[in-house]
């Protein structure tokens, strides 16, 4: 069991349903002693020259929640923050749909930005979720698993050596 900062509220969820950013923001806004809220929303980006039909997200039930919470606990120890909300959707998503939300409330903006980026960099590399693209190509429906990007690995690696566990 990882340690976490008991003064930081952690809220990690995996769900099929869409989420409402205003509802999550309203909760973060009330975090005691916080002057900064940073929200990241990841959307299904139109690709394949506009021929993307949707993304299918598969995950490892049970481990996904544990992996998200583990990253949030690390963030709560590494940064001076008061609350983290992380919601990841799975299932079939359409272009422009919301995929993931990470929200952080902190006394000051530097920690709020850093913790939110830290959460995303590790979510991309250590949470067991996989995306499959469904798209039209030359008149037929095709699909392909999304490949890992080296830029995402690099984004995670820049935090190494600085992580408080």
């Amino acid at each position: 069991m990882e340690l976490s900062n008991p003064n930081c509220q952690l809220n990690c969820i995996v769900q099929f349903d869409d989420f409402d950013i205003a509802t999550e923001y309203a909760k973060l806004q009330l975090t005691p002693h916080c002057g900064a809220v940073v929200l990241f929303s990841g959307l299904v980006r139109q690709q394949f020259d506009g021929c993307l039909q949707g993304l299918e997200l598969e995950h490892y039930p049970g481990m996904t929640e544990l992996a998200m919470l583990k990253i949030a606990k690390q963030a709560s120890l590494k940064f001076e923050i008061g609350a983290i909300t992380a919601i990841h959707r799975v299932g079939i998503l359409l272009p422009h749909d919301q995929i993931v939300l990470v929200g952080v409330a902190a006394p000051h903006r530097k920690d709020a930005f850093a913790a939110c980026e830290f959460m995303m960099d590790f979510l991309k590399n250590e949470v067991p979720i996989w995306k499959k693209s469904h798209f039209y190509h030359q008149g037929s429906s095709q699909s392909a698993w999304v490949e890992t990007k080296q830029s995402d690995v690099n984004a995670k690696d820049r935090w190494h050596g600085k992580i408080t566990r």
């Binding site: 598969e58 490892y60 481990m63 979720i129 490949e147 890992t148 995402d152």
Partner: protein, 85 residues
């Protein structure tokens, strides 16, 4: 005492294997790498080419290294690099 492990496959590996879950007999602890090599030899996983894939392994729902110990009763998952977020 348990004498097998539960093995899970996800995403492109699950598709290559053709199913998502199996049990494998194990009476003594071994490393995750040894378990991977052992299942690669199974006839029903012949086409999945497990040995030559870039895979990650989780033991009891925690990311693990290939020399981590697997114990009878554990839940082991093999999967390709993740692409969530």
């Amino acid at each position: 005492m348990q004498n097998n492990v539960r093995i899970l496959f996800f995403a492109s590996l699950r598709e290559a294997v053709g199913f998502s879950e199996m049990h494998f007999p194990l009476t003594e602890p071994c490393s995750a790498k040894e378990l991977q090599i052992a299942i690669t030899k199974l006839d029903k996983l012949d086409k999945a080419d497990i040995a030559n894939r870039d895979l990650l392994v989780a033991i009891n729902q925690q990311l693990a290294s290939w020399d981590s110990q697997v114990t009878p009763g554990d839940e082991i998952a093999f999967f390709p690099p993740v692409t969530g977020g």
